[in-house]
């Protein structure tokens, strides 16, 4: 039904049951924009995206350049902002300097790029592979199903961070390997979700109807099953990005992820962990950045789940 069809109706008062029916996604977005937490999540992520894209313009210093010999500043200097009474004879560093006398503010900004990249790419990788495995498993059934799901169960049996550490140890430390490791350990979740949705959708009337009128299985899969199976994946994926960012930060904290001097939040915290008492700003600022990012993804994920949940729609 189209909007024009509605407006051409001359009825002055619309009956309650005659409200405009919407598509799944249109309804979802409508619901999403009416949830305060989801809006907060989207605002946070919007800011984050803006920072990540425009980091070179927002940063005040080169994030990997040591300020020794360039500016007269101590290592681990406290934040100094002109607006809040930083004396004119002191160099201005919004978040202070780190143990290597680099500008923490610029490093935190650039860190947003890395964290977003790691989160989105590793989850994207996991969803593509996981969805494929899950769909094949559900569609094929039989021993292929048993074999694939057995493999996924084995992967799931390991605590994800431990497995990621093991993978990085084998592949060698580094950002790309971290990305791969986190991607690999998140595959089973998406595979299982995909499989269960496909299994349940396979039994739906509209799929059976499609089969009975002789649609090709490819058409059924792409037109009927996939769009309906995608919603749980999107929700899980959004929440999964938060987990992936945290895992990447944990690996970097342990020195297995991003290698110095790359500005990564986890490694920034890891390097200065002994300075909690003497220079807390070195832990607090990257920590806040990490918390906000994870919070943003979680709020958005929760909002999406509520918005897309079929059972709540009535």
């Amino acid at each position: 039904m189209t909007t024009s069809a509605v407006t051409t109706l001359p009825t002055p008062v619309e009956p309650i049951f005659n409200t405009k029916p919407r598509g799944l996604w249109s309804t979802a977005f409508h619901r999403l924009f009416h949830r305060r937490s989801a809006i907060i999540g989207m605002i946070i992520l919007g800011c984050l995206l803006f920072i990540a894209v425009f980091a070179p313009f927002l940063a005040t210093h080169d994030p990997v350049q040591s300020q020794i010999g360039i500016v007269d500043v101590q290592k681990r200097a406290a934040p100094c902002i002109r607006l809040f009474g930083c004396p004119a004879d002191q160099p201005e560093f919004f978040f202070g300097t780190d143990g290597n006398v680099r500008d923490l503010y610029s490093r935190v900004l650039y860190g947003a790029r890395l964290s977003l990249m790691v989160g989105i790419l590793s989850v994207g990788f996991a969803i593509v592979i996981g969805a494929f495995i899950g769909a094949v498993s559900a569609y094929a059934g039989g021993y292929i199903d048993n074999l694939l799901m057995g493999l996924m169960d084995i992967l799931l049996a390991f605590p994800s961070l431990i497995l990621a550490i093991a993978i990085v140890t084998v592949l060698g430390p580094g950002l790309i390997n971290t990305l791969l490791a986190i991607g690999i350990v998140s595959i089973p979740v998406y595979a299982r979700i995909m499989r269960s949705s496909v299994l349940s959708i396979k039994q739906q009337d509209y799929v059976l109807a499609g089969q009975s009128i002789g649609s090709s299985s490819r058409r059924i899969l792409l037109q009927n099953i996939l769009p309906n199976a995608l919603t749980p994946l999107v929700v899980q994926g959004t929440l999964g990005i938060a987990v992936a960012i945290l895992d990447a930060a944990a690996l970097s904290f342990l020195g297995l992820g991003a290698q110095p001097p790359t500005p990564e939040w986890g490694s920034m915290i890891g390097q200065e962990r002994n300075q909690v008492f003497t220079a807390p700003h070195l832990i607090i600022f990257p920590g806040i950045a990490l918390i906000l990012t994870v919070l943003g993804f979680n709020l958005l994920g929760d909002g999406l789940r509520d918005a897309l949940d079929v059972r709540q729609r009535s």
Partner: protein, 568 residues
């Protein structure tokens, strides 16, 4: 005798069974299988009757080690005969790995087991209780031959993080802590309730290069890097007070230091020019390898590595940082497998040039810097065979100059570090070589002094330990023939009151102190000394058991063990 032997074997067997996780009790039939090992046991009994002097000698000097024989001349005199002169012999003898044990106790424990858990020494303290994983409690030895210890009880505790140790000290739950974090010096100095005890840097932090890997096989390239690293910047920014710029490998307070020698002037333009001339630049990529452990010579490993990385980037060299596990890093470095730069350091075991230079640049040195330099070997060999410091110094000046010319490594810093105590602890000090004597401190009149260090001691038979945290615990209980003066590193009498050498420094005679008793009541005699040394020296000795069986200090300070297994 046979009963003793059987006892020893059963102890060994029980130990083996416990290690194997087996609960079966020791049986006499099991013991017979170990009989062949015991047939080589020398007459090592300490009889209750008249004194029978013990002699332990190598057949000849072909095994390469220092000792030729060790003998008890009479009850109070011990004579060591060496294969070749060693001017640093008293300094080595004073080291705590060579503490004297009661001969009977050595035999009763079978060279391990209780020797590690319940040490029986002559020191100012006895071990009262060792709660594994928690704390170690020492009681004052009321029969001590010297001045009695001031605190009746000394408690050792441990914690790996410097922040944690500082919090305990501030809270007042401990009286002293070791390893003050590099950034906490000011906090402690500003706190009226605390005092800081500095150790001068008897260590060196260096940036090693292995000349096996190109372009480090080119001496000019190594010299260029020596000019291209701003060492003063590292010290100014990343080292605590008390640290100093290294002008050479030797620390200033240790014999062998060349007064007035300077390292290459920092000159990045010149360095860049040479590197370009030699075809290294542009486009040189290398690695900086280190282990992420804090040591006195390197209080901020990760940050220093990143600063060196940034400095190399300024030269146009792209360096990747590689962090390795401590043990595998040392193995890889010693096997000469690390390409690029490696960050390592050395702390003094005993105050002599041989401990620094011979170990790293002598003919027997590891492959850490690749192929050695014969002209340095020559100078070091000459230096170690002369008798007086005045005669030796010129050779070490030559050696230090040659090291500067060849640049096997870039010496960076002598790192200062510190212990901290409550302000009311009288006589608090930190030993340069980490050998604090708590018997000399008065914890504000309190009965107990609680000390918190970096790690738990591993075992208390320090002949077979190398860890500094472990040696410190041994030093409260055990004593060597000689000792280092507290606060300095001068050699002073301990269990031996006098010592002398013959003209060519190959025969050393020690006179033992009268009336020294062990904690178990046994009296110290010359046979205790001979046996304590012999079990370490002879790898085939039935009491050569220890904790790991390596006896690394004896092996490295006295150039090898007798009858050492060929496998190594």
């Amino acid at each position: 005798m046979t009963r003793k032997r059987m006892l020893l074997l059963s102890v060994l067997l029980i130990l083996g069974l416990v290690i194997g996780g087996c609960t079966a009790p020791a049986s006499p039939s099991g013991a017979t299988s170990e009989e062949p090992a015991a047939t080589e046991a020398p007459a090592a009994a300490a009889p209750a009757g008249p004194f029978e002097p013990m002699v332990y000698a190598a057949e000849n000097c072909d095994y390469g080690g220092l000792f030729k024989s060790m003998e008890a001349v009479d009850e109070q005199t011990v004579k060591f005969t060496l294969c070749y002169p060693d001017v640093a012999f008293p300094a080595k003898v004073a080291f705590s790995a060579f503490a004297i044990n009661d001969a009977d106790y050595l035999e009763a424990t079978g060279g391990g087991g209780d020797l590690i858990e319940n040490p029986n020494g002559t020191g100012p303290y006895t071990l009262a209780e060792w709660r594994r994983g928690d704390q170690m409690i020492f009681q004052r030895n009321e029969n001590y031959w010297g001045e009695k210890a001031i605190p009746a009880t000394v408690v050792f505790r441990w914690g790996a993080e410097s922040a944690q140790r500082l919090v305990e000290l501030q809270a007042g739950t401990v009286d002293g802590i070791d390893g003050v974090g590099a950034d906490d010096f000011a906090t402690i100095e500003d706190d009226a309730n605390l005092q800081l005890a500095l150790r001068s840097g008897t260590n060196v932090f260096y940036l090693g290069m292995n000349n096996k890997f190109p372009p480090f096989d080119n001496e000019r390239v190594r010299q260029a890097f020596a000019m291209g690293i701003d060492r003063q910047r590292l010290i100014d920014n990343f080292y605590p007070p008390g640290s100093s710029l290294a002008t050479q490998f030797m620390p200033p307070s240790i014999f062998g230091y060349s007064q007035g020698q300077e390292w290459y002037e920092y000159n990045p333009e010149e360095a860049k020019k040479i590197l370009e001339e030699e075809g290294v630049l542009p486009g040189f990529k290398t690695t900086i390898t280190y282990r992420d452990v804090v040591r006195g010579y390197l209080p901020n490993p990760g940050i220093v590595a990143q600063d060196i990385q940034a400095q190399l980037a300024d030269l146009g060299v792209e360096a990747e940082i590689v962090v390795m596990e401590s043990g595998s890093f040392l193995t890889a470095a010693n096997d000469g497998e690390i390409d690029g730069f490696h960050m390592l350091g050395w702390g003094a075991d005993y105050p002599d040039a041989t401990n620094f230079l011979d170990y790293h640049f002598g003919p027997g040195a590891s492959a850490q810097f690749g192929a050695g330099f014969p002209d340095i070997w020559e100078a070091l060999k000459e230096g170690s065979t002369k008798a007086t410091p005045e005669e030796r110094q010129p050779f070490y000046d030559t050696a230090n100059e040659l090291i500067k010319q060849h640049v096997p490594m870039i010496p960076v810093a002598h790192g200062g570090n510190a212990a901290a105590f409550k302000a009311d602890v009288e006589g608090a000090y930190a030993s340069d070589i980490g050998a604090e004597q708590f018997a000399l401190m008065n914890p504000g009149g309190r009965e107990a002094l609680v000390w918190m260090q970096n790690a738990e001691p591993i075992g208390l038979y320090c002949a077979d330990e190398t860890d500094g945290e472990t040696l410190r615990a041994c030093e409260q209980v055990m004593q060597s023939l000689l000792a280092y003066e507290p606060g300095t590193a001068a050699v002073i009498p301990s269990l031996a009151t006098e010592w002398s050498a013959n003209e060519d420094l190959t025969e050393w005679t020690f006179t033992l102190r009268d009336g020294v008793t062990f904690h178990n009541g046994a009296t110290l005699d010359a046979n205790d000394v001979v046996l304590s040394y012999a079990v370490q020296w002879d790898a085939s000795h039935p009491l050569h058991v220890g904790n790991s069986g390596q006896f690394s200090y004896f092996s490295s300070l006295f150039n090898g063990l007798l009858n050492a297994p060929a496998a190594e």
